[in-house]
């Protein structure tokens, strides 16, 4: 069975034709005697990973703990879209997460995972990240193929426009962009800013933890980027009020940064297609899920300064899982091609 895996900074999402699995990509290390800690975690059915005498709580449970105990440091196996160079215990955690999401291959199965495009605003390469993930997935017995994150999104969001247009995946660690013309990627890049960048700045400005900002961003029914403030005057000055205002401000800054850099990349690229007609711009990824996101995009966009005639801005259906589903489509097509080739040669 073909599998698609979105290896995101905040979430790992696996898609098969029968289900979608999500795992929050965070962990925290529990101090104390490893055996005692494991016994306690097993009793409470809390998922953990042990490596070299250190016990790490993984996923949503780790996130919940970090919210309750604000002094606890929440660790990230990835940062800015790539493996976290500061996190030495990241790889066993990633291995355990991937293993749980995709399981062992039964026979000849294909798994397509995604990687970011080379970032334009940080001096890092993607090769090591790509190799490590490939190695981990291969240990579970899969034929592994890789595609760029924004291309995976295009496979979900641009098919109705003959795979022509712009796909922007708004992740936690990065935003990935590709300009596509009839299925061919003419320009792709990433910027190392995303949801985490918003969280970090909001947390710093409002004097709260990042976990608190994420909770408000994901759960607050008051958050709507189209409104400038909460209408309830009794909430003015509260943490939530301040956080929501700051989130709105940084969303505008992020979208502006993205569109400005896209314009700059497009203008400076050696070969970009001349689109005969206006094209759609499709958005996906967890950072685009917040209410009012598309209004912010429309607010920040200026057609006079943008090098391509834009037909419309579209938020892809089920934006959080779109990249994983794009990877799944690719994996399914690879498996179909393989079986057709086998039938022909038989």
């Amino acid at each position: 069975m073909a599998k698609g895996l979105d290896c995101g900074t905040a979430y790992y999402i696996a898609a098969t034709d029968k289900s979608i699995k999500k795992q929050r990509n965070v962990f925290l290390t529990v101090d104390g005697d490893a055996n005692q800690v494991k016994r306690m975690l097993k009793r409470q059915r809390i998922p953990f990973v042990e490596k070299a005498g250190k016990v790490h709580i993984v996923g949503q449970h780790a996130f919940n703990y970090a919210q309750i105990f604000s002094t606890t440091e929440l660790k990230r196996p990835m940062s800015s879209g790539l493996l976290n160079p500061k996190e030495k215990d990241a790889l066993p955690v990633l291995n355990a997460i991937i293993g749980e999401l995709i399981g062992k291959a039964k026979g000849k199965e294909t798994c397509v995972y995604c990687i970011p495009a080379k970032p334009i605003d940080q001096t890092r390469e993607v090769s090591y990240h790509e190799d490590v993930l490939k190695q981990i997935i291969e240990t579970y017995g899969y034929d592994v193929k890789v595609i760029e994150e924004s291309v995976a999104l295009a496979y979900e969001g641009l098919v109705d426009n003959d795979l022509t247009g712009i796909a922007i995946s708004m992740g936690a660690g990065m935003c990935n962009v590709c300009v596509m013309y009839q299925g061919m990627s003419a320009l792709s890049f990433s910027v190392a800013r995303g949801g985490d960048w918003i969280d970090a700045n909001v947390a710093a400005d409002c004097g709260v933890t990042k976990a608190k900002v994420i909770t408000v961003k994901e759960n607050s029914n008051q958050l709507d980027l189209t409104k400038s403030s909460i209408n309830d005057i009794y909430q003015e000055g509260s943490d939530e009020y301040n956080i929501i205002n700051a989130i709105r401000s940084y969303y505008g800054a992020l979208v502006n940064y993205l569109l400005t850099n896209l314009t700059n990349q497009f203008n400076n690229a050696e070969s970009v297609p001349n689109f005969p007609e206006s094209v759609p711009v499709v958005f996906g990824g967890g950072t685009s899920l917040v209410k009012g996101f598309m209004e912010v995009v429309n607010e920040q966009f200026n057609q006079d300064e943008f090098p391509i005639e834009v037909k419309e801005f579209i938020l892809v259906e089920d934006a959080h899982t779109a990249v994983a589903r794009g990877c799944l489509s690719e994996a399914q097509l690879i498996e179909e091609d393989d079986s057709e080739n086998q039938e022909e040669s038989a």
């Binding site: 034709d17 289900s19 979608i20 291995n95 749980e100």
Partner: protein
């Protein structure tokens, strides 16, 4: 005793003449190396022309033919085989969220587009 001193004086004089001869030949050879071109071959001697680098013969040929050389780096594809220890000693990870049901993809449209 006089005989011995006589022999010593002779020894010193012969050595002095001999060393003068060696020094003379050495000075003549240095002068000749600097002033006379012994290499009459039209073929450029690579070992003489290099300036600290061993140029591949193709590069040298291109230079002699006056072709412009690009200073851009050459990207190479490496057959990578990363082996890193990523296994944990014990793991009990459970998926945070599982959504069961038919997953909608654009596979068929994608297949049609690819022909």
């Amino acid at each position: 005793m006089d005989d011995f001193i006589h022999h010593i004086i002779h020894f010193l004089m012969y050595s002095l003449v001999l060393w003068q001869l060696v020094l003379g030949v050495y000075i003549i050879l240095i002068w000749a190396k600097r002033n006379i071109n012994f290499n009459n071959s039209p073929v450029i001697n690579v070992s003489e022309s290099k300036q600290g680098f061993d140029y591949p013969i193709d590069v040298l040929k291109d230079r002699l033919e006056g072709k412009k050389m690009s200073n851009e780096p050459i990207e190479v594809d490496v057959n990578r085989k990363t082996i890193i220890d990523t296994k944990s000693d014990e793991s009990s990870v459970k998926v945070d969220e599982k959504i069961k049901g038919k997953v909608k993809t654009q596979k068929d449209k994608l297949k049609k587009l690819r022909g």
